[in-house]
Amino acid sequence: MFKMMFRVLALMLLAGSAFAAPTFVFTAIPDQDETRLKQRFQKVADYLQQELQTEVRFIPVKSYAATITAFRNNQVQLAWFGGLSGVKARELVPDSRAVAQGVEDPEFKSYFIAHQSTGLNAADHLPQSIRGLTFTFGSKGSTSGRLMPEYHLREQFGQTPDELFNRVGFSGNHSRTIALVESGAYQLGALNYKVWDAAVEAGKVDTAKVKVIWETPTYPDYQWTLRGDLDAVYGKGFTARVEQALLKMNDPELLSSFPRQGFIPASNSDFEPVRKVAKQIGLLD
């Protein structure tokens, strides 16, 4: 068996090295509609290819953790991360830097939503009566669907979500959080405010059944993060050119992939609040 495996390994190694020309590869956390992710980000890849004059490729991944791993393993050199995934990735890859964020990202927020049967209404804090209800986060690695909601629950109630609620689930993503709370499968949920707003605007949510009961204070979220060793591989000044290309992206069609109005400069220290919260909750060592 081992001989066979080695042969396969050797074959794949050969196949792998044939592709080792320095294609610049980027990825994005799968927090939006994944089915169109490939088509939408292909346009961004084309744009970057034109700006950078080098081959650029987008690869789709299935989870936040896979995005971090691909970045850490140097299989992608640039990634569109969430707040938490970006912080984690930069802890794992020395010299990597947050270089750009969406115009909206310094003031991102999460919504807590509730099924109408709970009788809860929008308020400026979460009511005591949410104790003992059922609650769903989004993905385990999401900033707006997990980290910040959990932080605020702990802050306001002094308990972990497991102690506070009758049941705590992880829906997997923001859209599914809406669907699960709308059907009452879970009574409460928390998610990315942009996904909620977009779903309401598209008429995909029955707002008679589910509504926003609280919005969190703002926090920094998504950002573009670059590895630190690019100039050595792609030539001097490459990092600066990538930064420039990202910041001057202004085609509405491209920006709608994120969806953001535009990009502004960012730095690692902008995400210090996220890192602190993640540490406090124990999601980061």
Binding site: M1, M4, M5, V8, L9, M12, L13, A15, G16, F19, A20, V25, D33, E34, T35, L37, I59, P60, V61, K62, S63, A65, A66, I68, T69, A70, R72, N73, N74, Q75, K88, L92, S117, T134, T136, S139, K140, G141, R167, V168, G169, F170, S171, G172, N173, S175, R176, A179, L180, E182, S183, G184, A185, Y186, Q187, K204, D206, K209, L283, D285
Partner: protein, 498 residues
């Protein structure tokens, strides 16, 4: 004679198989009292309506993408299973060795999805990730089954050989030919499982059907889900037509060409995974502290994980899988007559076949999600999803087995009598051994139901991987593996007792 004595003496006369079944049912009933089976949904019908509407209006997304996904699903399945057949057979020949047995139990006790998640760290999105994620656990499975099949071969032909006939001759001229039909039949069944596993690996990012299935499903594009599922059912249902002796070499040899290229492997990553990532955090971070200090930190670290994650995880996994196992058995016993030639004529069996293909090919994860909408979060959707999926699988195997039976000529005319007095007693022993094999599979599968807020061991493993804590993940995976090995040993004992 008092009533209890009468009960006891009648119990004494019952066969080991019946007693075992009663034991399992009693355990499951006890678990019912502990388990969280609350129904708490409120109004699932809007979403269910959307789902039904989608299922009746299947629409394919880009057909070129789907064709590619279909081909790579088959490619991973065939290449992975082919590697596993070779590996499994060699391991089966050494299966008398306790170390080999332990190794096989260990590798097959880890779910394909977890293997894939581990190899994603090594190789990233590379075909090798998917290939090994199937080949490694399947080697362990093949090793066990091949060893058992070879052990059941009559010994007389081997004894008839002259004493100087060596091990290899005995194997090639007596044991192998006798075992051949069983080996082939089992391998062909496993190929179907391989196709399912390969499709499901798409959930973690490999370019198989599961990739598109999960993406469409999570966005609520149910007509795309329907189209993909139907394609998948069709693939499984027509297996008999395209999986022939003469197509096999083509499929096996062709599969490596459809695995895709993926990203280049960086070997430093594999080394880092072994030398850093899986080293427990207190040891990895201890440079300043003395040896004793880090040792006490290590024990603190391990006991924290044990108390907060491993023990509750084991408990929930056991409770959930004991109930699911018994419900699975009931489902299987209800479903197998649908495809049995002793119960229905050929046209009459077609709906049964369709039902069983659908039930056994729909990933449990999808079933669990739909049931979550209908029943609310608890263990209940998990139990039902596992029972439908595994019940249909065992129903299929039992039905197939019943078709090989030649029944007595004075068969009762009424279908119900025939079922209870003839068919059921005849297939029961093999049904029970299918169930005992499935036991550890069900335990493994309880892992992927974190969406229900049910904290099984797999839920904690997934959390650790999502948090990029491979030291924790590895400790939990090993715990799960030990649990599986224990169940495996126990089920072997029962098997012998029956």
């Amino acid at each position: 004679m008092s009533f209890t004595e009468a009960m006891l003496s009648s119990l004494y006369r019952w066969s080991g198989g019946v007693k075992t079944s009663i034991g399992f049912v009693l355990v499951a009933i006890c678990c019912l009292f502990i388990a969280d089976l609350e129904v708490s949904s409120i109004d699932p019908w809007a979403e269910m309506w959307r789902l039904a509407e989608g299922l009746f209006h299947p629409s394919l997304m880009q057909s070129s993408l789907v064709l590619e996904a279909l081909l790579s699903t088959l490619a991973f399945a065939f290449a992975g299973v082919a590697l596993a057949v070779v590996g499994g057979f060699l391991l089966a020949l050494m299966f008398h060795n306790a170390f080999v047995r332990g190794f096989c139990a260990l590798v097959r006790s880890i779910h394909e999805l977890f293997w894939a998640l581990i190899f994603l760290q090594f190789f990233g999105l590379h075909p090798l990730t998917g290939l090994l994620a199937i080949a490694i656990p399947y080697s362990g499975i093949f090793a066990r089954m091949y060893a058992e099949i070879l052990a059941q071969v009559p010994k007389l032909p081997a004894q008839a050989l002259p004493p100087e006939a060596g091990y290899l001759n005995t194997l090639i001229y007596t044991r192998l030919p006798l075992a051949w039909p069983h080996l082939v039949s089992y391998t062909s069944y496993r190929l179907e499982c391989g196709i399912r596993s390969s499709a499901i690996l798409g959930f973690v990012g490999l370019p198989t059907l599961g990739y598109y299935l999960e993406s469409s499903f999570s966005q609520g594009y149910y007509s795309e889900v329907a189209a993909l599922l139907m394609l998948f059912y069709l693939l499984i249902a027509t297996k008999k037509i395209w999986l022939r002796r003469w197509t096999l070499p083509v499929l096996f040899l062709g599969s490596p060409f459809f695995l895709g290229d993926g990203m280049p492997i960086v070997w430093g990553n594999a080394w880092r995974f072994i030398s850093e990532d899986i080293i427990p955090a207190p040891l990895r971070n201890s440079e300043a502290g003395g040896q004793w200090e880090s040792l006490s930190e290590l024990s603190q670290w391990a006991s924290d994980i044990m108390l907060d994650q491993a023990l509750p995880g084991i408990w929930n996994t056991l409770v959930l899988s004991q109930i699911a196992l018994v419900v699975t058995g009931l489902c299987a016993l209800l479903m197998f007559p649908l495809i049995s030639r002793h119960c229905y004529s050929l046209p009459g069996r077609i709906p049964g076949h369709v039902l069983l293909v659908i039930a056994r090919s729909t990933p449990e994860y999808l079933l669990a999600y739909i049931l979550l909408q209908l029943l609310g979060p608890s263990m209940l959707p998990a139990v039902i999803a596992l029972a439908i999926h595994n019940g249909a699988l065992i129903g299929y195997l039992s039905g197939r087995h019943s078709n090989e039976l030649a029944l007595r000529s004075d068969l009762p005319n009424r279908r119900l009598d025939r079922y209870f007095y003839e068919l059921l007693p005849r297939i029961y022993p093999s049904f029970l051994s299918f169930m005992l094999y499935r036991w550890e599979v069900i335990m493994r599968e309880t892992a992927i139901l974190g969406i229900l807020g049910v904290h099984t061991l797999g839920f904690f493993v997934d959390s650790a991987i999502q948090e990029i804590r491979f030291d924790v993940a590895l400790l939990l995976i090993l715990t799960a593996a030990l649990l599986n090995i224990a169940v495996d040993m126990f089920s072997r004992r029962i098997q012998r007792y029956i």
